[in-house]
Amino acid sequence: QQQDVLLQLQQKFEQGKYSKKGADGCMMCHRKTEGVDAIFDGVHGDPNTVAGPMAGLQCEACHGPQGKHRGKNEPMLTFGEDSPLTADMQNSVCMGCHDDSQRMDWHGSAHVSEEVACTDCHQVHIAKDPVLSRSGQNDTCQQCHTKVKADSHKRSAHPIKWDEMSCSDCHNPHGSMAESALNEPMLNDTCYTCHADKRGPFLWEHAPVMENCANCHDAHGSVNEQMLKTRVPMLCKQCHAESNHPSTVPGGNGSIQTAGQGCLNCHSQIHGSNHPSGQAFQF
């Protein structure tokens, strides 16, 4: 049945029988429909929006030509879970106007392959789309990304939990050609946006640091301080077995390798040193 409705909608769209009065005709009936007139509070319902719906086909820009909807109750294009349109078809309505620089990589994004519809995250019939605020965005993303939501509550995490940051500070929900839809080409470049003190170049570089911040850190959160994957000194000893103290068993609380700041008691410049004597990141 949904398939029949979809075929009918495609035919209607191709026939292009638009209404005689535009939005005024629609609102004669739909002024009573809850939430519909909220469109006029938002940017999509503003007649001054350049190339916006109200400056063109109005309601029918998104919901398709009216045809015989009025009187014979022919179906119109609808959005959401009950829509006869696939997510891709629903999105084609939005992308008709929004296929621009900011969404250049949408077609290759994970959200497309997961059949996420624009309306799963965005609202149009509203004064202001909640997903455009930091708290609204975090709530929206975390509805699906539940593990990331969990991570934000760990002992050490970026301040997503208190909406001091939002997911889009690092990721582009509309896709990017970088891994994990990061905003910058490489993970480290994304981190350097806020942590330029780690960028260097340093006189003495710590190879795994310059290679990938995620070698040691989990950016979504960790039960270990500093978002470390494992705490010091165990983490350091997963790479360092040089003779003398790096190769020894981690001492208990009474060891300088464990107490205080662990290995960083002496090797404090672990992200790289700019001291001529900083070969071992001690200065």
């Binding site: 292009g16 001054n48 208190w162 039960v223 494992t230 705490r231 068993v249 040193s273 001529p276 001690q282």
Partner: protein, 649 residues
């Protein structure tokens, strides 16, 4: 099928006579503004992380206002918790769909600990010795000013984004004498980062292209830290540095195929004066370091049929370190050791190649599979090349009403060129060591997600995962890592006026590693067990909405813990944290426009760390050679009560 306006048949549309009586075209203001007054009660200002306020008077302004002029100019003012430690403000103006300018203030604040004790007190770049330990606070404050502008024409546009972020406060650090004596310090932070992006984009019927530049400038006012009167700086700060890049990106559509590409060339530089000239060759006074980067990305998405899509992508990154190499005599105990070390300029290139396809077997049955190949090459290091191949498959089942299930399995193998332990270090490493980020590794991962809507008023989501990293050729180092857990959430619209959301989950990460102080075989073992749990519930009641009353409640609990077991000495005490967070909100509408609200927030937080030891440690009684910052853990109850008055325009 494309339902977009550009694909529409508008030959019969006669929109000239269309009006829009409901449209707002006159001068108007909409939105709301709220003022909050209250009090934060906390015995530890670490609570400011959760509350946004330190102990004492609390005030805030929240606003979301929009002015629309007759001519269509939209001006907005947004304020969020302005007055708190994390208050934000943004002002924008523009014509929707054409141009927009905006300025913003974004503040972040984070307290690490309020109970650091040290007899070293920082004054600028100098650490001044006090007569006795002084209690100091470890906290960071970020304040970012931003400016954005964009213009959108019919086939071209441009945008500019600039930010300037100051970072002030203090952080944990440590100084040592190059031997085995160390003193933990409260190190000052005072730096600024400025970022800029500017781009121009053009588009045609089937293509988009963009050219842009990016710049980033980091300026650190703490270029070194020195003990008062010392001949040598105890620490070099993060150096002032700059990064620039130019990029070109584009996308072309050919029928059902989309081809995207991006090419960027960048440079990162540093020319900071050296913090000491001791041990430095004559004539060298400043660093001359330069890294050139090249990024290339390609992506192809092709709809093969109504049932199948093919995806392929490539990411390439090259880091060419063109820095001058130096030979420095290394200091130890404030004197030259006679050991001369040479800096390294490590080049690295990284490539990722992915191909995947999905196929809709039938309505509600979708199968996706792919292969990822990653290759990293380094000019120096224990292993000059690593290669990883991962195959994965995913099945999405949504054939039954009210059910949705996704299951994904992946298996990856990493190996590479001959491993040369210790090649990257001047000291001799155990030749059996395999560094975990370079080692051979078999990675197996399973994921399951199930969504169920048993009733129109009830929805449930469950996910679980298991990942095993087996370092198959490692005798010394990380040998195995397991990561597994589950998450569950549910929503219940109990009555038309009551909605309940509950969520929770657990995660465990277990690592096993081996070490050796003999050289030829493992002589010790360690196991690391991380555990995390969280739960929460939110309830909203709207049954008294007609009387103007709204009520809501949120509760969240989280637990983080980590244990270490070694074949050596035990790690006494705990390394864990837990928190209970409660938020109660009540609102009452005095009139159609004005309302009062009451917000109560409660935070119960405690953490512990077995690594914390008293400030002074004497041989035989404590930790030999270490002066720590003392007990940094927290254990407190904190409350925030805010009365808000809001007005809707």
């Amino acid at each position: 099928f494309d339902f977009g306006v550009p694909a529409a048949n508008t030959s019969k549309a006669k929109t000239d006579a269309w009006a829009c009586k409901k449209c707002v075209s006159s001068d108007s203001i909409q939105g709301s503004v709220a003022v909050g007054l209250g009090n934060a009660i906390s015995s530890d200002d670490h609570a400011a992380n959760a509350l946004g306020y330190e102990d004492g008077f609390a005030a805030s302004v929240d606003a979301d206002l929009l002015h629309r002029s007759d001519s269509g100019l939209r001006t907005s003012v947004e304020a969020k918790e302005l007055g708190s430690k994390r208050g934000d403000l943004a002002v924008t103006a523009g014509r929707a769909g054409q141009w927009k300018v905006g300025a913003s203030l974004d503040q972040k604040y984070q307290v690490d600990s309020t109970t650091a004790h040290s007899d070293l007190l920082a004054s600028g770049n100098t650490l001044v010795r006090q007569g006795e330990p002084v209690q100091q606070q470890l906290d960071k404050e970020r304040q970012q000013l931003g400016f954005d502008a964009k213009y959108m024409g019919s086939h071209w546009g441009s945008y500019l984004s600039m930010t300037s972020e100051s970072r002030k406060g203090s952080q944990r650090s440590s100084i040592s004498n190059g031997g085995v004596e160390a003193q933990n310090i409260v190190a000052p932070i005072d730096s600024t980062t400025q970022n800029l992006t500017a781009a121009v984009h053009v588009s045609g019927g089937d293509w988009l292209a963009e050219a842009g530049v990016k710049g980033s400038w980091y300026d650190n006012d703490i270029d070194s830290l020195s003990l008062e009167g010392a001949a040598q700086p105890a620490q070099a700060g993060a150096p002032d540095n700059q990064a620039y890049s130019v990029y070109l990106k584009g996308r072309y559509r050919l029928g059902a195929t989309q081809l995207s590409g991006r090419l960027a060339s960048g440079r990162q530089t540093q020319d900071q004066d050296l913090v000491t000239l001791t041990g430095v060759p004559t004539g060298v006074t400043a660093a001359d370091l330069q890294v050139d980067t090249l990024d290339g990305q390609l992506a192809l998405v092709s709809r093969l049929s109504s049932k199948s899509t093919l995806r392929a992508s490539m990411i390439y990154n090259d880091r060419d370190n063109a820095s001058t190499l130096y030979q420095f005599d290394q200091l130890r105990f404030d004197t030259l050791s006679g050991t001369v070390e040479q800096t390294q300029a490590v080049d690295r290139s990284y490539g990722t190649y992915k191909v995947s396809a999905d196929y809709r077997l039938a309505s509600g049955h979708k199968l996706t599979g792919g292969v990822d190949y990653k290759q990293t090459e380094r000019s120096a290091g224990d292993r000059e090349e690593t290669d990883e191949v991962t195959a994965w498959a995913r099945y999405h089942w949504s054939a039954a009403a009210r059910w949705d299930m996704r299951v994904k399995a992946s298996f990856g193998q990493r190996d590479g060129s001959r491993y040369q332990a210790g090649a990257a270090t001047s000291t001799e490493s155990n030749e059996l060591m395999r560094k975990y980020y370079l080692a051979d590794r078999d990675r197996t991962k399973l994921e399951l997600e199930i969504s169920h809507t048993p009733l129109d008023s009830v929805s449930l989501d469950f996910s679980t995962y298991y990942a095993l990293d087996d370092y198959s050729d490692t005798e010394i180092g990380l040998t195995e890592s397991e990561d597994y857990g589950w998450d569950l959430s549910g929503h219940w619209q109990a009555l038309s006026s009551v909605s309940v959301t509950a969520f929770g989950g657990m995660q465990w990460i277990d690592n096993q590693q081996l070490g050796s102080d003999s050289g030829s075989y493992a002589t010790w073992a360690a196991e690391n067990h991380d555990e995390f749990g969280y739960a929460g519930v939110s309830v909203a009641y709207t049954g008294l909405q007609e009387q103007g009353i709204q009520l809501s409640m949120d509760y969240q609990y989280s637990y983080s813990g980590s244990d270490v077991d070694t074949s050596g000495q035990p790690f006494d005490d705990d390394y864990e944290s837990d928190s209970h967070s409660v938020s109660l909100n009540a609102g009452y509408a005095i009139s159609a426009a004005a309302s009062v609200g009451l917000r109560y927030q409660y935070e119960r937080y405690q953490d512990s760390d077995y690594a914390e030891v008293p400030v002074e440690n004497y041989p035989g009684q404590g930790v030999t050679g270490l002066t720590s910052l003392g007990q940094l853990s927290q254990n407190y109850n904190a409350h925030l009560i805010m009365l808000t008055l809001s007005y809707r325009l």
